[in-house]
Symmetry: C2
Subunit: 140 residues, 2 copies
């Protein structure tokens, strides 16, 4: 877990905490994925701890395969407040199920990889003049 200081942060600090670049933060604001950041008198953006946390959460959604457009949609629903609660809940539930499916998929591919590693070991311990059917064969 990353410590998020409880004070207004510069875009540089927000970038470091979220793992994004400053350019990406500005880009996200431009495409309306993030709400317009507040500004200091000199025009520079600043970000509160809450805003940084909300970006961190959105990046978690991104990391499980949500597109920027979907995140945008979700964020807009949050902006609309309470009335969209059940809609947002449905979205997160769908995410949850999709992640389950993805985990199952990854495990199934891992089995194929295990089989392949076994084949490699066979071929390495008992070299054959022709290893066709090893690399590119499937498992099931």
């Amino acid at each position: 877990m990353i410590e998020i200081p409880d004070k207004p942060m510069t875009i540089r600090e927000a970038a470091e905490l979220t793992g994004l670049t400053e350019d990406t933060l500005r880009y996200y604001e431009r495409i309306d994925l993030l709400p317009p950041a507040e500004r200091r008198p000199n025009g520079h953006r600043f970000y509160t701890a809450e805003q940084v946390q909300s970006i961190v959460f959105l990046m978690k959604l991104k990391s499980i395969g949500m597109t920027l457009a979907q995140m945008q949609q979700f964020r807009k629903l949050s902006d609309e407040g309470e009335s969209t609660l059940s809609e947002r809940k449905a979205i997160i539930e769908a995410c949850y199920r999709q992640v389950n499916e993805e985990i199952e998929h990854l495990r199934s591919v891992q089995k194929v990889l295990e089989y392949k590693l076994g084949r490699y070991d066979e071929l390495l311990s008992n070299p054959s003049p022709d290893d066709k059917g090893c690399d590119l064969s499937t498992y099931e």
Copy 2:
């Protein structure tokens, strides 16, 4: 598991079996991800069961996050034969570990989603005039 007929197939059949489009199969050949397909006397491509299986396997690698460039590299090593066996094994081992990490990551995000779903239920059963801090707050 998909049945792959044991006979030369048209590009249309290969596309159906691999879940790719004909355009994508030709594209993969163009960028040298796939070796040049054999041709019938009229110039049409045909694919053997082995070739289709090898494409299916490459698509499994793709589905766990491998890029076309990485798959290309891997395929070229297979073409070089036995001498690259341990190199290919190392690649598949690295894939395996990365998939493990990805599964762990997905599970960690699932925990965040579970927490969020709990928050939604709280707010739905006990409505508050202000749901700030729900949608966009993080978990950890």
